[in-house]
Each structure stands twice: as C-alpha cells, then as structure tokens.
C-alpha cells in the first residue's frame, strides 16, 4: 500500500503539485484582494479542488473532451449548489426520498399510504432557491450585456468562482499532461487583466510569473526524465542537481528583474535630468530672475471623525429632553392618554460613509452656507411626501440640524456639509438629488422649521429599482476595509443567496439581525484586534443600535448593496395632547440607509426592539407622494444663470452690468437735472453737448454752436428749442419753467446720442 502510494505520488508529482497549489494560491489571493466582496478564502477551496480534479482527469486514459465535460459539469453543479445554499434541501431530499421508499414498502405490507410531502417540500425549496439565484444571475448578465454596472455580490462571486474553477481545473489537467505554459496561461491572463484594472495585489501576479518559469523548467526536466526512463537511457544523477540549481538561480534572477525593472521610474529619471539644469545656482549667481509663478495648488482635508461613533464610546442613557418636534401630521387631542398610532420618524443628524473596522467617519465635505429659506435641492424623484417639522431644541450639545427625510429648506441660516453637492438644476439635467450626499447641516438657531420630503417608495418600486448604481455611489458606499474577515462575506452571501432583488437582500439582512441578536446596553468593548461587525456577528451576538447598524451596513456592502450609517434620534414619545414628538437623550440612535437607483436612500431598521419602517403598497405611495413647490421667477432666473458655464456667465455679466450702469447713470442724471434749477440744468445740458459736438471757440455764440450741430440731427426743432431755452436762461429776465426743462431732456438725450455716434464716425474716418 505504502509502495503503491509512493509510486503514485513520486517526488516529481509532489513538487509539481506543490507549485500548482502555490499558483492557485496566487490566483485566488490576487482575485480575492481585487474582486470586491470575494476574499481569498472564498476562492481557495474552489481553486484547489478544481486543480486536483483537473490533475486527476489529466490521466492519459481520459481524453481532453471527457475531462473538459467532467470538469465543467461537476464544477457548475457544485458551485451552483453551494451558491444557492442547496446543501440543506438536497440532503433533505435524499433523506425524505429514503423515507418515502421505506413508507412505500410499509404500505405494501399493509401500513399507511406513503406521503411524499417531505420530498415535495425539499424539491420546492431547491426549485425556489435555484430560481431566486437564477433570477439574480440573469439580471446580472443582462445588466452586463447592456453595459450597465450591477453590483450583485452573489452573482459576481458565482461568476468569479466559475472562472477560478475553470482556470484551476485547466491548470491541473494541462500540468499533468506536461504543458506548464499552457496550464498557467489562463490564470496568468485572468490575473493580469484584473490586476491591471484594479492595480492591486501585483505581488500575486509577479509570484505567478515566477512559479510559471519554475514549472516550465521543471516540466521540461521531468519530461526528459520520463523519456529517458521509458527508453532505458542511462542518465546522470548530476543532471537533477544541475537543473534544479540552475533553475533556482535563473528563476531568482528573473524574478528580481521582473520586480525591480518595472519599478525603475524611467520617466522620473528623465524628468529629473531635465530639471537638474534648472535647479542650478548659476543663473541666480548671474543675476537672472524668474518671473514670479503661482505656487502649487494647496489642497486640504478636513477630518470628520466623530468620536461618538467609534463603537466603543457607548450609548448615552440620559432621560433629558433633547428636542420636541411638531409635524402637523396629527391634530392635538385633549387627553394625553389617548392611544395614537403616530408615524415613526427617525430624526437624522449625520450620515457616515467611511468604515475602518473600528467605527465610522466621513469623507471630506464641502461647506456651503444657506440663507433661511434657501433650497438644498431643486429636483426630487417621485415617491416622496412633504413633511413640515417644527423643532425646538433644548439641550443639544452639537450644532447639527435635525430633521426627518430629505431636507428641502429651513427657516434659519444653515451650513450644509456636502460630500457630493447636488447641482441646482430646475431643468433636471444636472446631478439628481438622489445622487447627492449630505453629511449634515450646522445650525445657528435653537428653534427652526424644516421642510423635508420623506421617501415613501412602494415595495414594488424598491424591488424594481435594480442595481445600476452611479459610479460615485459605488465607489463610496461599497468599500470595506481589509480587516473585515471572510466569514462576514460568507454570511452576507449566505443571507442573500436566495433573495432575487437588492430590496429582498436588504430585508433578509435586516430580518436576520432583528431576529437573531439580543439588544443589550451592557456589552464589553470591542477587542483591539477585532473588527466590529465580525465581533458582533460571531462572538458578541448582542449589543445596541451602533452594533446592529454597523453590522447591517457591513453585511449590505459585502452583499453588494450601497449602505451608509445614519446617526440621530429615534422617534421618541409622541405627546398626543401637544401633537409633538418628545425626544430624549436616550433616544439617540443609529440606523442604516441603503441606496436604490432612481429612488435614493431608503432607511432600514436593523436594531431589535425598535419599530421597523413601514413599507407601502404602490397605491398608497401614489396617494401620499408630493412634488416640490414651483420656484419663483427670481429663483428660476438665478438658478438658470448659475447653471451657465463661467465663461458664458462672464460674457453675459459684463454687458448687462454696463447696461445697468448706464441705466443707473441716466437715472442719476435725470434726477440731478430735475433737482437743479432750470437755468443750471440747461447750462449743464448745453455744455454737455460741447463734449460730443466739439468745443466751440471763445467767440462762438450759442446760436452759432447750434447751427454747427444742426447737420447731426433730424429733430432740428428740439435743438433750436433747447438753444432758445438756454439763451433765455442766460439772457432773459423771464425764467425758464421746470416743465420746459423736463420736456427737453428727452430730445437732448437723443441729440447727445447722435453726436456720440457722429463723433465716433469722425474718429473712424
């Protein structure tokens, strides 16, 4: 037995299999690190199993077609069953089938008739789960065919697993056939393209190249040995030593070259060589000066890491009232004890997009000051309802504004903290509101009215939303730190495998958390070397809202659903008599929002014991939905103007400004002429004509000047009248009436305009 085993696994096989295993490790490590939601340990068993199966099928008695058929069919079935979680139903089906057969025998011997219900249940479960997975895979494939980005982690992992399976199976098969280069080419190509796209885990690719070179050398050596042994050719033992030493040295040399050479910054070296003369001090010594240039662009980031949302900070249990909110949804009742089913609102303060394994923080934000009544956005997708909220804050330590839903405007000055600012676009051609990203808003007042819009999408809308996430959302809300262990990803895949739509997947995660974990405020701190979600899900298994929300957000991201953490306050207690919500410090809360394309962020409540969010039917949503109020003309003009490109805005602003300035000057002139005495006004008007009609000589009379100007005007009567008035004001004892002056202003201006044009024409000639 031992001899047979040794013969079957000769040292050359052990060595080749070891290198094959290392190659598989490189491939899965590279893919695991670069493919989101699929860490190495998810692919490793698949790759190793496929490689061993391929190695076994590479036996000479099995031809390529049979091997390929076996590999593809077995791998497909295995991966499908594993992804769709069919292990339980399949085992159940086997068990129930045996039971059914036993019951048939018993029935044959006079027992009760057999009942195939167990088989049917298991069969139904298999069909249902397979159909669910198929629906997701189909949606994923059609999205790809339509060149639309879809982020279904289960379909994605299934596809990658299949690719890993085929690449590793082929590698095992071809390596057994003595074709190392052919064996590793698919894996190398796949890893190269993935690594090129992601620019991550280049080490794995490099190592795979080294393994490929080693396998090529060893493959040739082993093929030679086999040929010599087959032909009975005597060979020297020194060949093995020579080959292995040479191969090791060469592989090390080539590996070093492959690692070092690409790192040589050829471009930088050339650039430095080019810059070196410029850095020379000789020009300064010679007194040559450089034109003062602009300094480099200074970028700065603003840290936004709220310590209170590092999980270990713990909850605040104070019963102190923080604020009261009136929404006007219900009228006040005369009795406090009246049972009122008040709507459940979550008063949000901040949202967080970054998770580091210990807690949440926000990316950099853009601060924008908004006056009272200024709108945060101008477009809103359908499926929202308006909600007026009157806040009275009492002892809120922070300076954040609180509201429920999507804040439209507040009657106080606020500073919006945008991670992604929406474009204020009345035509709806800019960045949609639901793609904007608001950390929160800082307030000045303690009492304010907020006008917000609550998302009320129907279940049908949510299910039909799809997974075509905008790039900004994908980049920001699907990232997870490397500290998140594989078992979290595995749990996410397991929870969502049979859920056909993202909404169902989110519901599955929410339900899992709400039903399987105990709410507790007495929890130990998270160990330093642990990741919060992993610690909560697999070890602690109890906690408060921060743990639940963190776990759901991490699981959702691991399942390919864009998620963020929201902090603020729960509904609080509804005071029916005052028709207001009384919110206390102990109502501080965290929950989760998940993004749905075309709808926006939708809230989910994973914390056990907290009331969940009601999901509406399609009909109810239509009835409740509202639209934004139409903007005023000024707002429209202002927003339209803001939408113009800067160059256009400048091009428009200058002439408009000049025109406005001219109008202003004219108005001012008109005012001055009306205020001055008629004699002074006429004098100012007549002398003003000198500027454009040419300075008269010292002996030129007003009548002569008037005669000189007559060719420039068609309204000669007005010019004569003005001259007459001027002479009257100068020389007549009869004063000029103010009315005469006002009536002459218009023809005077027309004449002045003609003189301006004539003067310009003369200058041009």
């Amino acid at each position: 037995m031992r001899t047979a085993l040794l013969r079957r696994f000769a040292p050359r096989d052990v060595l080749t299999l070891s290198l094959l295993g290392a190659a598989v490790l490189c491939l899965v490590n590279g893919l695991g690190a670069t493919v989101r939601g699929a860490v190495m340990s998810a692919f490793l068993p698949t790759g190793l199993l496929a490689a061993l199966l391929g190695w076994g099928l590479g036996h000479r008695r099995i031809n390529g077609g049979q091997a390929a058929a076996g590999l593809v069919s077995f791998g497909g079935i295995l991966l499908w069953a594993a992804t769709a979680r069919l292990d339980g139903p399949l085992l159940g089906l086997a068990s129930s089938t045996l039971s059914y057969l036993a019951s048939i025998l018993a029935w044959w011997q006079g027992g009760p008739p057999p009942n195939p219900a167990g088989m049917a249940d298991n069969l139904n479960a298999i069909v249902t789960q397979s159909a669910g997975l198929w629906a997701r895979v189909w949606l994923w494939m059609t999205s790809i065919s339509r060149n639309v980005t879809t982020d279904d982690v289960v379909a994605r992992v299934l596809a990658w697993s299949l690719a890993v399976w085929l690449a590793c199976g082929w590698a095992g098969w071809a390596l057994r056939r003595g074709q190392p280069l052919n064996a590793l080419t698919p894996a190398l190509g796949m890893l190269a393209f993935v690594t090129d796209y992601t620019q991550m885990e280049i080490d794995s690719l490099w190592l795979l190249v080294v393994i490929l070179l080693a396998l090529m050398g060893l493959g040739r050596f082993f093929a030679n040995l086999e040929r010599w042994e087959t032909r009975g050719i005597d060979y020297a033992e020194i060949i093995a030593a020579n080959t292995l030493v040479s191969l090791a040295l060469l592989a090390a040399l080539l590996a070093g070259l492959a690692w070092v050479v690409p790192l040589v910054p050829v471009g930088d070296i050339i650039e430095n060589l080019r810059r070196k003369p410029a850095q020379s001090t000789a020009p300064q010594s010679l007194g040559l000066q450089e034109a003062p240039g602009q300094g480099p662009d200074v970028t700065y980031s603003r840290a936004a890491l709220p310590r209170s949302h590092l999980i270990s900070a713990g909850p605040n249990l104070s019963r102190e009232v923080v604020f009261t909110v009136r929404t006007g949804e219900l009228t006040s009742l005369p009795y406090e004890s009246a049972a009122v089913n008040a709507p459940n609102h979550h008063w949000r303060g901040q949202t967080f997009d970054r998770y580091n394994g210990y807690g949440w923080y926000s990316s950099e934000v853009i601060r924008r000051g908004l006056a009272a009544g200024d709108a945060f956005f101008t477009t809103l997708p359908p499926g929202y309802r308006r909600l007026e909220q009157q806040f009275t804050l009492f002892n809120v330590e922070d300076k954040f504004l609180y509201w429920a839903g999507a804040l439209y405007r507040a009657d106080t000055e606020v500073t919006a903290l945008w991670r992604i600012q929406p474009v204020l676009d009345p035509a709806g051609t800019g960045l949609p509101f639901n793609e904007s990203d608001l950390l929160g808003a800082e307030r000045q007042a303690e009492t304010y009215r907020a006008e917000a819009y609550l998302p009320i999408p129907s279940v049908e809308q949510l299910r039909a939303a799809g997974q075509e996430y905008p790039a900004a959302i994908r980049e920001r809300y699907l990232s997870l730190p490397e500290r998140v262990p594989e078992r979290v990803f595995a749990l996410a895949r397991a929870l969502t495998a049979a859920a056909p739509t993202p909404f169902d997947q989110a519901l599955a995660i929410e339900t899992y958390l709400r039903t399987n974990f105990e709410y507790s405020l007495e929890v130990p701190g998270v160990p330093v070397d642990s990741e919060v979600a992993d610690y909560f899900l697999f070890e602690l298994k109890r906690g408060y809202c921060d743990y639940y929300a963190t776990a759901m957000a991490v699981l959702a991201r691991a399942a390919g659903l864009p998620a963020r953490l929201v902090t603020g306050y729960a509904s609080g207690v509804y005071d029916a008599r005052a028709a207001e919500y009384v919110v206390r410090q102990s109502d501080a809360h965290s929950w989760v929002e998940i993004y749905f394309p075309g709808i926006g962020w939708v809230e989910f409540e994973p914390t056990a014991g907290q009331p969940g969010f009601d999901r509406l039917s399609a009909a109810s949503a239509v009835v409740l939905s509202a639209e934004l109020p139409p903007p005023t003309l000024l707002e429209t003009l202002k927003q339209s103007f803001n939408l113009l490109p800067p160059a256009v805005r400048l091009a428009v602003s200058v002439p408009v400004g000049l025109i406005l300035l001219l109008v202003l000057c004219l108005a001012l002139e008109d005012l001055v002429l009306r205020v001055l005495s008629p004699a002074l006004a006429l004098r100012w008007m007549f002398r003003n004509l000198y500027c454009f009609g040419g300075q008269p000589g010292p002996a030129t009379t007003a009548t002569e000047f008037c005669a000189a100007l007559l060719p420039y005007t068609n309204d000669k009567a007005s010019l004569l009248a003005l001259t007459s008035l001027y002479l009257q004001a100068l020389f007549s004892p009869r004063p000029v009436s103010a009315r005469s002056v006002r009536e002459s202003i218009k023809p005077w201006r027309a004449l002045r305009w003609r003189l301006v044009l004539a003067k310009n024409k003369r200058n041009a000639d």
Binding site: A192, I202, L205, I233, Y235, I239, N242, S246, A255
Partner: protein
C-alpha cells in the same frame, strides 16, 4: 534550435501591446519576466547549439558473437553556459547495444564516457550516428544536433569446438586439387592423372605424357583425399525456432565451426548457402577463405528456395570427388532424389540434420536420417542441446555479464547463468 512553445512569444507580444495601449506595472512585470526568460533561454540554447561537439571512437572494426564492444564518447562544451542536460541518442543498429545516455557538461567543459556492449547476433551493423539534444534550464528551447558519423561493424558467427562429427572423406588418395606452394610431405607417387590447368609444371609426369601424347600430372601420397563442400540449407520453410535459438543460427554456427575445423585440418573448404542470396565459395584452405566463409555466414539470411531445387540447380558446381557436408533442418525427403547425380559424380555427402522438433518445429528428423542411412549416406542428427552445452560454448557456463553506467556507477546484469542453484559438495 526549436522553441518548445510559441505561446510564450504570443503572451509576450500581447503584453507589449497591452503596455502600449494601457501602460501599467502589470504588463511591465509580464514583459520583463517572460521576455527576459525568453532572452536567457534563447542565448543559452544558441550558445549550446554552437559549441556542443561529440566525438565517438571504437576500438575494433569487427567482432564475433560474444565479443565485447567498447566505445568512447567525448562531449565538448565550448560555451560559457553549462549544459544542464545533454542527451546522446545512439542510432546504432547492433542488437542489444545501448549507447544512448544523458549527462551534463559544465561551461567550457568536457566529459568522456565509455560504453561497453555485447555482440549478441551475427550480421553487418551500423555503429553511430548520433543525435545530441540539450536545452536551457527553463525549457524554452531544445537544441538538436545531428552527428552522422558512423561505421560498419561486422559481427561474425561464433566458432565453437564441435563434438566429434565425422565427415566422410570424398575422392581417392591423391584426388583433389594439389596445393601450389605446399611443402612436399611425400615424394611417393600414388598415380598419374590428366593435367588440369593450374597444376604445377614440376608435377608433370613427362614419360606418361610422352607416351600418351598429352600432359599428365603425378599424384602424390599425402595430398588431400577430397575438398569439403559445406552446404548450408537456409530454406525458410524448413526452419524452426526463433532468434538465437533457431535452426538458422545453429546451422550458421555449425557451418562456421565445421569450416574452421576443416581449415585447421588443412582441408580446402568451400561454402554453398541456400539462402536469400545464394553464396558459392569454392574450396580453398587459406586464412582468407576462413574470413570469406565467416563473412558469408555472417550475412546469410533464409531464402525461399528449397534444398531440392538448390541441389538440382547448383549440384554441378560441386565438382567431383569431394566431401559434401549438408547442414539442413529439412524433415522432407524430396531433396534426396537430387543427391543421386552428385553421388554419381563421386561426391561423398555427410548430412547434418538439425533436429527441427527440438527447436519446436514439425516433422521427424529421425525418419530422414534412417532413409539416408538406408541409402548409405552418413547422417548425424544435431539436437538443440548440442551447441547449447557448456562444452560446446566454452566460457559461457556460469558467465555473468554486467553493464555498469560510467555516469551513475549503477551495475546491471545483462546476462546471467541459467542455473543458479547452490549444490552441496558430496
């Protein structure tokens, strides 16, 4: 120099194209890794292709079955790169001779190897040429060098001491062809006969010539009683057994040994072979005749002509008054009719019947022998064991033959005694 897998260059080209389209460190790693591997492999293989040289030398130009063959291989590598493996494929046609080997040669180094072989079968064989194969350690390229140098090697049939086999002398005292320069062992004349061209003039008996009016030659006592004609029947339809253990090989061995014996006994020995190419060597008794007979026997192969037809067509060539030794495995008797004219011409046949049954053939040799004896022809039935006995093959009993690898030092037995049992001394 052959690239073992073009996929490498395709991958390299693809990486270069990708680097041009989408510059990245990924493609640089592939380009540098695969490209440098290809370049090193190409340089290595090119160096070996230009500088590997093989020289083959052997000690002897001919050999007999059972002889050892010794050959020397000198492999020279003038390149700086070591040849981590060099395979020398030998194209020699000598059965059982395996000179193919694989070794390694350092850079600017030389390796000398000795190979030994064993000539197991008679025939004309070619020793060499050779094919040299080598390659770079990464297995990118395979270098193949052909060395056409070769040399013919004639392996003569073995000559073994024969048990006593009486060859009936043919002719009378004084018959036969007188030797031209033979010392006169006897001066007593036994008689005269008519002059034949080639007879020495000093043997002319002038008185009788004068009386008869034509030339007569004296016949002296001590002259051979008659020449030996050895007729080897290689009719393929009459043979039995296979390879070395066949009536063909035993017949060849018997003919060679008989010729040797006859020549050593100063008989003029001729050879006739009924084989694929009929062979006639007229009786002579010099060393050249020994070589010619052995060479003819070495190359003899079975043919399709029956012994009966052969005797009918070529019987007159045997002349008169000679001993005819017929070596055949035929169990048929039809050829006996063809013997009658030979008998009438004074030929005295001795038939050596190889016992076909003992070689796994059909028919009974004893019946033929009885019929031959019935008509007064001497006949010996040669069983299979006759030439396989230790005394028939001196030096073969208890003989081990080993082959030791000059490279690895491994020893392998290529011939071992059949009887290896230990026996207690009485």
């Amino acid at each position: 120099m052959r690239l073992n897998n073009w996929l490498l260059l395709i991958l390299l080209a693809l990486s270069i194209v990708m680097q041009v389209i989408d510059p990245s460190r990924v493609w640089k790693i592939l380009i540098v890794g695969l490209g440098s591997a290809w370049l090193v492999g190409w340089l290595w293989a090119r160096g070996l292709a230009r500088s590997l040289q093989l020289t083959r030398e052997m000690r002897y130009g001919w050999a007999q079955v059972g002889d050892r063959l010794e050959e020397r291989f000198t492999l020279l590598n003038a390149s700086l790169f070591p040849a981590t493996w060099v395979e020398i494929e030998d194209h020699s046609t000598l059965p059982g001779y395996r000179a193919s080997l694989a070794t390694a040669v350092g850079g600017e180094g030389e390796v000398t190897l000795l190979t030994e072989g064993y000539c197991a079968r008679r025939g004309l064989y070619l020793l060499g040429g050779s094919t040299l194969r080598s390659g770079d350690p990464l297995g990118m390229y395979t270098v193949t060098l052909e060395d056409p140098a070769s040399r013919a090697l004639l392996v003569l049939p073995p000559v073994v001491p024969l048990p006593l086999i009486d060859v009936t002398p043919g002719g009378y005292l004084g018959d036969g062809r007188p030797r031209l320069r033979a010392p006169e062992e006897s001066v007593r004349a036994a008689g005269v006969r008519e002059y034949r061209p080639g007879d020495p003039l000093r043997r002319i008996h002038w008185p009788t010539s004068a009386r008869q009016g034509k030339l007569f030659t004296r016949q002296l006592e001590g002259n051979p009683a008659g020449d030996w004609w050895i007729l080897l029947d290689m009719d393929q339809n009459a043979q039995a057994g296979s390879d070395q253990d066949s009536t063909v090989e035993h017949g060849v061995m018997l003919a060679a040994s008989l010729a040797d014996r006859g020549l050593r006994e100063k008989q003029a020995v001729g050879l006739a072979i009924n084989g694929a190419e009929p062979c006639w060597l007229t009786p002579r008794e010099n060393e050249r005749q020994r070589w010619d007979i052995l060479r003819a026997l070495a190359l003899a192969q079975p043919g399709g002509l029956s012994l009966r037809d052969f005797l009918q067509r070529g019987g007159k060539s045997f002349g008169k008054q000679a001993s005819l030794v017929i070596i055949t495995a035929s169990t048929r008797t039809d050829w006996l009719e063809s013997l009658a004219p030979l008998l009438w011409r004074g030929l005295v046949p001795t038939v050596l019947l190889l016992e076909a049954a003992s070689f796994g053939g059909q028919g009974s040799s004893q019946a033929v022998a009885e019929q031959l004896q019935g008509i007064g022809i001497a006949c010996h039935v040669i069983p299979r064991d006759l030439l396989n006995r230790p005394e028939a093959r001196p030096g073969q009993a208890g003989r081990w033959q080993f082959r030791q690898s000059k490279i690895t030092g491994k020893v392998q037995a290529i011939q071992r005694p059949e009887d290896l049992d230990w026996r207690r001394l009485a």
